[in-house]
């Protein structure tokens, strides 16, 4: 469903499934989202864990902070669908002109509000890290959703793994490092020098094995969804979606992903 607004990019609506990552903290992103239906959780990363700072519902806006801060800033928090969600995406070009024309006093007020929200989110993160478990009803409610959300938790890791293209000889081995992993897939970094003359291509299916703990070998088959060259050119990162895993390995992954 699209609506065209003059020369600006159209307003589009997108559907997300429960657990989907809508915005990733640290990314460069400029779009603003209005929640049409469903709930979206805002999470900030600190000390290796993600802390919920807010749960937003229909009519609320997601991603406005990067817009107010200016287009060169990175996303200050992650947004995830806590339920199946429908979001309307506003391209900032639509708003930038209006925002720049706004009286300076209003822009200064918005800038002050932005600083305060960043501070308050930081305070919430620090408090929850210090306290471990939230205790009262309101925060309990949030942590219930957090637990739900954890089912789809993407865990940041640094796991050595070996891989080879499916249907290649069994003695072929490439070394990689898994950077994050979820029930759906993983992200891996590989030194290009170690790939010999094999070129990774989107859609390739790989057989991967790694160890979650010292004695727990896990085998997975996954398909490359996207590839990105490292800044220095010596590495390549790619995202993969699992295509096959034995039930026992899936169970191991489930335990590994538990908080």
């Amino acid at each position: 469903m699209t609506k065209t607004k003059g020369k600006f990019p159209p307003v589009v609506t997108l559907n997300y499934s429960k657990g989907d990552l809508i915005i990733k903290e640290g990314d460069y992103g400029i779009s603003i989202y209005e929640i049409i239906s469903g709930k979206v959780g805002i999470f900030v990363q600190s000390g290796g864990t993600e802390t919920s700072v807010a749960v937003l519902g229909p009519g609320m806006i997601v991603g406005e902070m990067a817009f107010i801060a200016g287009n060169t800033s990175t996303r200050s928090a992650s947004a995830r669908a806590l339920e199946d969600c429908c979001l309307e995406v506003w391209h900032p070009a639509m708003l930038l002109n209006a925002y720049q024309k706004m009286p300076e006093v209003l822009r200064l007020i918005a800038g002050q509000a932005l600083k305060l929200i960043v501070r308050m989110n930081k305070m919430v993160v620090e408090l929850s890290l210090k306290q471990g478990q939230p205790m009262n009803r309101q925060t309990q409610e949030l942590s219930d959703q957090w637990t739900e959300e954890r089912k789809f938790f993407r865990k940041m890791v640094s796991l050595e793994c070996i891989f080879r293209p499916v249907n290649s000889p069994k003695n072929l081995k490439f070394l990689g490092r898994i950077r994050d992993i979820s029930k759906e897939g993983l992200q891996m970094t590989v030194k290009t020098s170690g790939l010999l003359n094999y070129t990774l291509t989107s859609g390739d299916e790989l057989f991967i094995s790694t160890y979650f703990t010292l004695d727990q070998k896990v085998n997975m088959t996954a398909k490359i969804a996207w590839l990105q060259k490292g800044k220095t050119g010596g590495t390549i990162s790619f995202g993969m979606v699992f295509t096959h895993m034995d039930p026992d390995d899936r169970k191991r992954l489930g335990f590994f992903l538990m908080p």
Partner: protein, 133 residues
Amino acid sequence: MTVNSQVLGYIVSEESYSDKAVIVKEGSVGDWVYVILEGRVKIKKRISGGLLTIDTLSEGNFVGEMAMLKQSNSTRSAWAVADGPVILGVLDSVRLLQEWESQPAKIKKLISNLIQNIEKSTQKAADMIEASK
């Protein structure tokens, strides 16, 4: 930080407060917006057993702007208390409100959303501090 010259143009009167004087009372109704001309103002939220300081503002910063921008009601969401002697400029609220109201709906939504998130986040922090006691 100095007071922006355009902001100075909105000032209709000045008010002086002595140390610890209450400028804005949490829960009261009001939509005056101030700019700090001199001194410091602490923004505090009531929690059981006291007040939690959530922000310390200085020259050029605004006080009371949240009630105007949140678009639901103009209840003050926090205390503003003088931290030492303070001189505030009272902004022309009619002009400010008019300018605010004439902004495109999406812009208003963006900013009022930011204010709502501040309130949520502040409430959450206050709840957590209470829970830890």
